[in-house]
């Protein structure tokens, strides 16, 4: 059973503000979706290994910045060459 409090907490963790209407609607819909995902509980999987990536780090290209020409940033909120964010405290 998915509760309104759970959805509220998860949306906060995901940093998504929800209106009261969205909270009501999402709680019902997510309950239904999660119930469907519970089919995963019905399969005997004890001896099945999960999928893992095969590549090793040695396959990666050298970790060197190639940079971009021009402006990679879209924001207009800047000061003294820095990007402005909201205050921390």
């Amino acid at each position: 059973m998915v509760t309104k409090e759970e959805v509220k907490r998860l949306s906060w963790l995901a940093r998504i503000e929800l209106s009261e209407g969205e909270l009501e609607r999402y709680t019902l819909q997510i309950e239904e979706i999660v119930k469907y995902l519970d089919v995963l509980d019905t399969i005997p999987l004890e001896h099945v290994k999960p999928v893992v990536a095969k590549k090793k780090y040695a396959d990666l290209r050298p970790d060197e910045s190639s940079g971009f020409e021009g402006n990679a940033l879209g924001t207009k909120y800047r000061k003294d060459g820095y990007v402005k964010g909201p205050r921390m405290v």
Partner: protein, 478 residues
């Protein structure tokens, strides 16, 4: 001559031989777009520089310079694939002002081959959806019946190809997002093996599942695009080594397995068209029989667990600080600014991010995510066994016909269930293509052909054989 109706081979040959110019062809396409866009709404933006690019190609040809295999060919690009200097919005408010400073590898390779980007196509926001209804730019409509959805999430790409607004297109396929709209719009749409095509410059949604794939009106057109874009890329370490080239081959005696679970789950009208397709393949010398893929019953739950988990992680980067819409951070506290900003994601994106946070949350990880990855192993193992017996597996691409716009938009689970036949290839990392199979009630039905990893050539052999025998109509009157 209506140049916009020509297929890729005809366009490339006509421009190279100077039978017509790239400029004339692009001009006609722009006129066509202006004429049909009010009905179809396939594009998010049209490239104003396309005509200039065409003139450059024409000059090169006049001057006797070497040009690429796709010289002058108009391609539309799904708006979640980065195009330098051209806005890439993902149909989201979160990226409404984003102009990428670089081209995706696939776009760069198309440019290298001489192709011209005619515009960016509509999609469900961040490629999350099966109908192209979840777009900030409005719904794309199915060119065969504008009251119906075109499928999704690459609905704009498929519709632009079917409506003759471009010659070929690129989409992305995380759980069927190329094949579903290809099926609903009577186009050819291919999802390659995981690692065949670089994802560098594709805006991430679910990295372990998604691939970029081409659309065309014929198998031949799709092969031409695939040859231009496939192959290793140092900027995407998941790409496989080498640079494969595919061709059109007359091949007889293919071993074809019709997946029982796919056909049993389909609407009777769809199943009928697919059975007819099996008869066609059998007449062409294929050895067809029914087979079973038992673990398909768990595929959708596995897919939506993994896709939403990866989405919740990938979309954490949208904080409106480095790029985003106009909302000053002045006066906001750190967390409340992000929560406010991110409330501007659309309905489906928010839903998936929250579901993803749920399945990854402490206490549920083993119950959902780990099991979903185990199902993935199980499914792959079962498919590998089947591919020892069959060259290709087939079934309907979609279990249902294109449905009315708005019909399923308020019922997310019902919407997810339509992906049942397509998610299998993404979970297994195997290639699959949707080829037009015919019509039921005047609406297109696609035949899905799947093959083992990196067996695209075999899959294309089957697709070409079927296409040549079935001769299904590709573009409607508009």
């Amino acid at each position: 001559m209506a140049l916009y109706t020509l297929d890729l081979g005809q366009v490339a040959a006509g421009i190279k031989s100077r039978e017509f110019s790239a400029e004339e062809y692009i001009y006609q396409l722009l006129e066509r777009i202006e004429k049909v866009e009010l009905k179809v709404n396939a594009f998010v933006s049209v490239n104003k520089e396309a005509l200039d690019k065409a003139r450059v190609i024409d000059k090169k040809i006049r001057d006797g310079e070497q040009v690429g295999a796709l010289a002058g060919v108009a391609v539309s690009i799904k708006d979640n694939i980065c195009t330098k200097g051209i806005k890439t919005t993902c149909a989201s408010k979160m990226l409404e002002t984003f102009v990428p400073p670089y081209d995706a590898t696939v776009v760069k390779r198309l440019y290298d081959a001489g192709a011209i980007v005619i515009g960016k196509t509509n999609l469900d926001e961040f490629a999350m959806g099966s109908t192209t209804e979840f777009s900030r730019h409005g719904t794309t409509r199915n060119p065969w019946d504008i009251n119906m959805v075109p499928g999704g999430s690459s609905g704009g790409s498929a519709a632009s190809v079917a409506a003759l607004e471009c010659t070929v297109s690129l989409g992305s396929d995380t759980g069927g997002s190329v094949r579903c709209p290809a099926s609903f719009c009577s186009a050819v749409g291919l999802k390659p093996t995981y690692g065949l095509i670089s994802r560098y410059g594709l805006v991430s949604y679910a990295n372990s599942l998604e691939q970029i794939g081409p659309f065309g009106r014929t198998v031949s057109d799709v092969v031409s695009v695939l040859n231009a874009i496939a192959g290793a890329d140092e900027n995407d370490h998941t790409t496989a080594e080498g640079k494969p080239m595919y061709s059109l081959r007359e091949r007889k005696g293919l071993r074809v397995g019709l997946v029982r679970e796919f056909i049993e789950g389909a609407e009777p009208t769809v199943a009928k068209v697919v059975h007819k397709a099996v008869d066609t393949l059998a007449r062409e010398g294929c050895r067809c029989e029914e087979t079973s893929l038992a673990s398909v019953q768990y595929a959708l739950a596995s897919y939506y667990t993994i896709a939403t988990a990866e989405a919740s992680s990938n979309l954490a980067r949208y904080d409106n600080i480095r790029y985003g819409f106009d909302l000053s951070p002045e006066g906001y506290e750190w967390n409340s600014y992000f929560a406010r900003v991110r409330s501007n994601f659309g309905e489906e994106v928010k839903r998936r991010v929250i579901v993803g946070s749920y399945v990854l949350s402490s206490g549920y990880y083993g119950k959902y995510y780990l099991k979903a990855q185990q199902v993935r192993s199980l499914l792959k193992r079962e498919l590998k066994t089947l591919f020892e017996k069959y060259d290709v597996l087939i079934g309907p691409t979609m279990p249902i016909l294109p449905f009315k716009i708005g019909e399923k938009i308020d019922d997310p689970l019902k919407m997810y269930l339509v992906d049942i036949d397509t998610v299998v290839a993404n979970l297994a990392g195997m290639p699959a293509v949707s080829v037009p199979a015919g019509f039921a009630d005047g609406l297109p039905v696609g035949l899905q052909i799947m093959a083992d990893e990196f067996q695209e050539q075999t899959m294309l052999d089957a697709a070409y054989l079927f296409e040549q025998a079935a001769k299904v109509q590709r573009s409607p009157e508009l």
